[in-house]
Every structure is written in C-alpha cells, then in structure tokens.
C-alpha cells in the first residue's frame, strides 16, 4: 500500500447505518472470518476519515488491529494476526495527513479532521499490575493442584487470583464455574458436592413440577408475565452459536426450561430481558440443565449488576463509574459533564453492565471477562474497571471530536465485537492496581470497597477518604471523610506512601 493508493481512493463505502446492528459473534469460525476479511474489498478515502488508529497487540508491535473510523462512526477493523502492522505503521507515519495531525497548532486550510494514533500494548511497567503475566490459564493439571485429597480447594484466594489473571481453560469451566458462582463452597469435599448436587437435582425437578402443575388461573398469569416473553426470547438468543443453532434444538428447550423454572423459583425477580443472554453461555459450558440452573441462581445472586435489573442498581453502578472516571480519566468525565444529564446517563454502557460485556466482545473474550469479574479478586467491581478500560482505550475520539450523546452511543455501539478483549483486560487490571495505589479516595467510592471479602486494601496502604460533600440531609460525611483531606505522602517512587493505618479506614461502620 503506498501513499498514492491511499489518496486516490475517494469513495466511501462504509455500509450506511446498521450493518453492524446484528451481533455476528459465532457466525463464522475465526478462520472464515479472517478469509472474508482478506477477500472483501472496501475503499475509503483515508484523508476523509475521522480517525485512523493502530492497536498493537503483541510485545514486538507487529500484530494487532488497524481501525479506520468514518465521520459517522462506522468502523473498519483490519486484523493483523501474523505481523505486518509495523510496516503499515511506518507508511502512515510518513504520510502527510498523519503527520499533520500532530501539528495541532498549525491548522492549515486543507487539514482534515482526521485523528491518527498508534497504541502500543505495553503499559508503563510502573503502571501494569505487578502480578501481570505471572499466571497462566488454569488447566486441568493446575486446577487439580488447587484441590487436596478430599477435593477441597486449598487456598481459595490463590485460585481466584490465578483465574483473575489467567482465566480458565474451556475444558474445565463446567467444573470450576460453580465455585466462582458460589454454588459450591471451596471448603466442600468432593463427596459433599456430589451429595449436594443430587439434592439440588431433586429440588430442580420439584421446581419444574411446581411449574407444570399450576392451577389454570395462576398459569394464565404466569404465561402472560413470564412464559410468553421467555418463549419469544429463547429462540432469539445466541442463535449464531452452534450450540443453539437450528430448528427444535433441544438446548434451546433446556434454556427455556431453566428460565421458566427460575421465574418459579424466584418470583420476585421473575424474568426480564437480558437473562437469556446470561444463561446461554452458562448452559453451553456447564451442559447439564440442572447444574446450569443452580449456576444461574448463583450468578443472579452474586453479581450485583444483573441480579435485579432495576433503576437503583443501575444508578448505583453508573454513579460509581462516573466517580471512577472523574478520578482516573478526568477529560472524559468533563466531556460527559459538558453534555449535561444525557451525557452523564452514559447510555452507551448500559448494555455493558447488564450483560457484562457479552455483546461487546467475541464469546471467548467475553467469557474471559466474566471469569475475571467472578474471581472477585481485590474488588467486587472489576466490571467497572473494564468499563473505564474500554473508555481509556477506545474513547479518544469521543473527547477529541467532542461527540454528542447519540454519536457516543453510535461510536461505542459500532465498536461492539471489534474491540480487543485481552488489551481491555490488561488495561483494567492496571487501572485496578493504580486505584489501589491512590493515597486518597472520594467518599463517593467508599462503598465500592465495602463488599469485598478479603478487601481491596487487604495489603498495602489504606487510602484516606476525601469527602465530596454530596450528602443530602446529613451534615457530616457518613464515612468520616474530610472535605479537605490532609495531603498524604506521595505513594509512588518505590516507597509505599500514605501511612494511614488500616484502623483509620474501616470498611464497616
């Protein structure tokens, strides 16, 4: 590709509008997708693009993605799996349009609004989570090493940590997920688990029986409130996944029964749309219907952000997210503020939170993210760090182009299934580490740490609490935060700063 080629192609052939509306995950195996990318032809005038970004995914900076964004937030993502992106990068760096974007102050008449950037995967070594890359994917052998001769998990914390960093091998997900979803306690022995499993199997059958023997009046209500929607939804959930594909697929029927039985088991929650998206991957990995049901019960109980999709829960998540952004990505936060209420509602990340990024990344990457969140390592809110990571990596356009609310929605919507999940996870872990190094945190984020088991600051310095002063109907900060917190010692430069004692910052009141 030479520069003339790039400039000569004048027509813009992005699909207008919504071709990315369809989530095409699982549609094609990776190989076919790659082939299609090689064969399909598209032309863009790079000089007329809104942005051109290179994301390197390997240490050597040869492989990665080239992302071209039109002014209407349509994306072309070119994957370089086997190198070559570095060569392209060199070409771009010499190219007039790209070099011009660096001359911020010398805006010429001809200057386009194109943004150009190159992102290297390497985070500053001081920035990366110190335990990064010390862990490999949890495979059968590693998993068995975590169990003693009775089948108990020896050191749960170590297991969660290993999963947080390395993920779980697909072959043992069905076995390990029930622990993460707290179906089984880590102290349980193999024997106890087998017993529990049989008991739950009977209970599941009983729940199902209850559903099938409802009196007519009750059944009519159930049908109207739950069954009708479930029936409609299961046949439009993960249809492109081989596991659920085709007419009269028995797995779809299993998914349907699990959801219906769940609504009987927990009538207060019943069924709301989105649940089928969450149960489908569980079923596809755990396989057994009754086991999946209890995993799903665990998932609904233990993940804050989807257990009850109600306003208060969503508002709480958004509040934390806004505060995290204010703390870690001030420019983005300020942009949201400048957009007013609509901006601060962050519509673009509702689906991220509801489905835990399931529709934003390929299945393999999404499940890695689920596991990292379920590991509850150092925080119960890792999903919020994932949100910030996505924004930090893919949100430059939003700030530079001052995108309005709808454009922001379009921007992130079009990025779905085109983002690099590993990079996002890496960044999120780094953000968590950075957060833990903070000498002080605002009281608005105090509760972010409250639910932690072995807490967020179980080791290392405890931050001071700074009051943000937004406590309606109470004169003083309930967390004892100081409006003008005494500035603690700088935490970095090798020394562990902020000598506040643990007693000085209590998680429980």
């Amino acid at each position: 590709m030479d520069q003339n080629f790039m400039r000569a192609d004048a027509s813009l052939h992005f699909p207008e509008g919504s071709s990315l509306l369809q989530s095409s995950h699982w549609e094609e195996p990776q190989r076919a997708r790659t082939l299609e990318q090689i064969c399909s032809v598209f032309r863009v005038d790079l000089g007329q693009m809104r942005s051109l970004r290179l994301f390197f995914s390997d240490e050597a900076c040869t492989s990665g993605q080239l992302v071209v964004a039109s002014r209407e937030s349509q994306y072309k993502v070119l994957h370089f799996h086997h190198g070559g992106l570095d060569k392209l990068s060199e070409v771009f760096q010499q190219w007039k349009y790209c070099t011009e974007t660096n001359l911020k102050d010398q805006v010429s008449e001809e200057r386009t609004c194109m943004q150009f950037s190159i992102r290297r995967p390497k985070l500053q070594s001081s920035e990366a989570h110190p335990e990064e890359s010390a862990h490999h994917r949890l495979d059968v052998a590693a998993w068995l090493r975590h169990l003693n001769e009775l089948g108990q998990v020896e050191e749960e914390y170590k297991l969660r940590k290993a999963i947080f960093f390395g993920g779980i091998d697909g072959s043992i997900r069905g076995e390990v997920w029930p622990f993460l979803l707290r179906c089984y306690s880590p102290e349980s022995t193999s024997e106890e688990r087998e017993e529990l499993r049989l008991r739950r199997r009977r209970e599941y059958a009983h729940i199902q029986q209850r559903r099938l023997s409802m009196p007519p009046e009750e059944h009519r209500t159930f049908w109207r409130n739950v069954q009708f929607t479930v029936d409609k939804d299961v046949v439009r959930t993960d249809r492109s996944n081989q596991f659920f594909r085709g007419e009269d697929n028995p797995n779809v029927e299993s998914m349907r029964r699990i959801l219906l039985n769940y609504a009987v088991y927990n009538p207060a929650v019943g069924y709301s749309q989105g649940m089928s998206d969450l149960v489908a991957p569980l079923l596809a990995e755990v396989l057994d219907e009754a086991d999946t049901f209890w995993c799903f019960v665990g998932l609904m109980q233990n993940t804050i952000f989807i257990s009850s999709p109600r306003d208060e829960d969503m508002e709480k998540q958004l509040l934390y997210l806004r505060e995290l952004l204010r703390l870690t990505h001030l420019r983005f936060y300020q942009h949201l503020v400048s957009l007013g209420e609509d901006g601060l509602q962050m519509l673009f990340c509702h689906r991220w939170l509801l489905l835990c990024f399931k529709r934003e990344f390929s299945e393999a990457e999404a499940l890695r993210i689920w596991e990292a969140c379920w590991a509850h390592y150092q925080t119960d809110y890792f999903h919020l760090f994932i949100c910030v990571a996505i924004i930090a990596i893919y949100g430059d356009d939003v700030i530079e182009q001052q995108l309005a609310t709808d454009q922001m929605l379009l921007h992130f919507g079009n990025l779905a299934m085109h983002m690099n999940g590993e990079l996002v996870l890496h960044k999120a872990r780094s953000l968590l580490h950075q957060f833990r190094l903070r000498p002080q945190i605002p009281c608005s984020l105090h509760d972010l740490c409250k639910l932690c088991g072995p807490g967020m600051w179980d080791s290392g310095p405890i931050p001071a609490v700074e009051c943000t002063g937004e406590h309606p109907a109470s004169e003083s900060c309930p967390y004892g935060g100081m409006v003008d917190a005494p500035s603690p010692q700088p935490p970095r430069d090798g020394k562990r700063g902020a000598k506040t004692t643990r007693e000085g910052f209590s998680f429980r009141r």
């Binding site: 509008g17 509306l21 369809q22 409609k232 749309q273 609310t405």
Partner: protein
C-alpha cells in the same frame, strides 16, 4: 455524506412485534427471521430524499421490555418521529397501545409525529386485529396509520418516509423550531452550505458539528 436535515426517530411497542426487523428492513433491505433480541439501545441510519433534500434518519431501537428510567428518558428525548408498533396477530400488543402512547406523550415533545404500525401483515391467516381497528385507533388519537410487513418489506419504506414527510411539512409550516435540537431535528452540513459553491462536506464537520 452531506444531508440537509437529520431526524431522530424512535421505535416503540411490545416485545416481539418486530421493531428491530422493521429497522433492519428499512436500513439494510433485508429480513432476518432469527434476530438476537435487543438489549439497551441500538441504532440504525439511512439517507432519504424528500423535496429534493437529503434527509438522514437516525433511528433508535430498544428492547420492548426496557424499563430503566435513564434509558427511557434519553430514548424519548429529542425524537422528531416515533413508530408505534403492534403485531396484527397478537391482540395483546394492540391493547397495550394506549400505555405506549401515554409514555410517548409524557416523555417527548408534543410535536413528535407518531406513526401507528400494524406489523406482520403477511400473516393474514393468523390475524387477530382488523385493519379497521388500527385505523380507528389512529383516527381517535391523531396518528398516521399503516400496516406493514418487515418480512415482505410491504409498506416499510412508506412508513418511515411518510413519517419524515410529515415532519418535513411541519418544518415548512414552522411548527418545528429547527434551531432547537430538543425537537429531534438537526440541520446538516448540506443545508448550511446551500448557498456556497461547493457541496462537499469539508464544512460543518469539525468538533461539535453534526457528523452524525
């Protein structure tokens, strides 16, 4: 892509009436019988021509069961047009129209043009709601009415375009204040540059401009 105006549309109605399919048929001219259910807010866009002017329709689509205040508020806000959809094979979806209409009237501006759509007209044998009933409801509430089929594409173009025509007429009549974006209408770069010698899109695309 230069355009004179951008209209924001929303699609509302019970779950499973075919909202996303109507959108897909209009923007991509295809029907996908198995379509993953919508969660959160999704988008579609298409350019149409009315009175020789390029108009970009930006169509918002959401889950029929969507209940988050924050979503519904932002969803309705600033919509110039709405497609209120029911399924002619399911009377329930027709019976719920009043609730949807109340929601729409409550959350959006009073000038919003609402088109009532009876979808799935290809399933005549399973029809539960007569066309006359749809017409009567529309008359009673001052809506435009049409029966469509996202599957066969029957009347889909017309539904979106007639709504746009209605909005365009309101602009001509001065009912819509096009300088107030809360009305769901934005002036595009083409309109702004009408009198200039060039029709390219160099202008109006800088930061804060209406790229979309």
């Amino acid at each position: 892509m230069a355009y004179a105006y951008l209209f924001k549309y929303i699609i509302i109605g019970d779950t499973g009436v075919g909202k996303s399919c109507l959108l897909l048929q209009f923007t991509d001219k295809r029907f996908q019988p198995v379509h993953d259910l919508t969660i959160g807010v999704e988008f579609g866009a298409r350019m149409i021509t009315i009175d020789g002017k390029q108009i970009k329709l930006q169509i918002w689509d959401t889950a029929g069961q969507e209940s988050f205040r924050s979503i519904t508020r932002s969803y309705y806000r600033g919509a110039a047009g709405a497609l209120l959809v029911y399924d002619i094979t399911r009377r329930d979806t027709f019976n719920h129209l009043t609730t949807w209409l109340e929601d729409a009237r409550q959350h959006s501006n009073s000038n919003m043009v609402i088109m009532l759509i009876g979808n799935k007209s290809d399933l005549e044998s399973r029809r539960e709601v007569k066309k006359e009933e749809g017409e009567a409801f529309a008359r009673e509430h001052g809506l435009i009415f049409m029966e469509t089929s996202a599957k066969t594409a029957s009347n889909v173009e017309e539904a979106f375009i007639n709504t746009a025509k209605e909005i365009y007429e309101k602009i001509q009549e001065g009912v819509f204040d096009i300088n107030n974006e809360a009305n769901g209408i934005k002036i595009g770069p083409q309109h702004a540059a009408t009198n200039a010698t060039h029709t390219g899109n160099q202008g109006g695309q800088q930061a804060g401009g209406g790229c979309c």
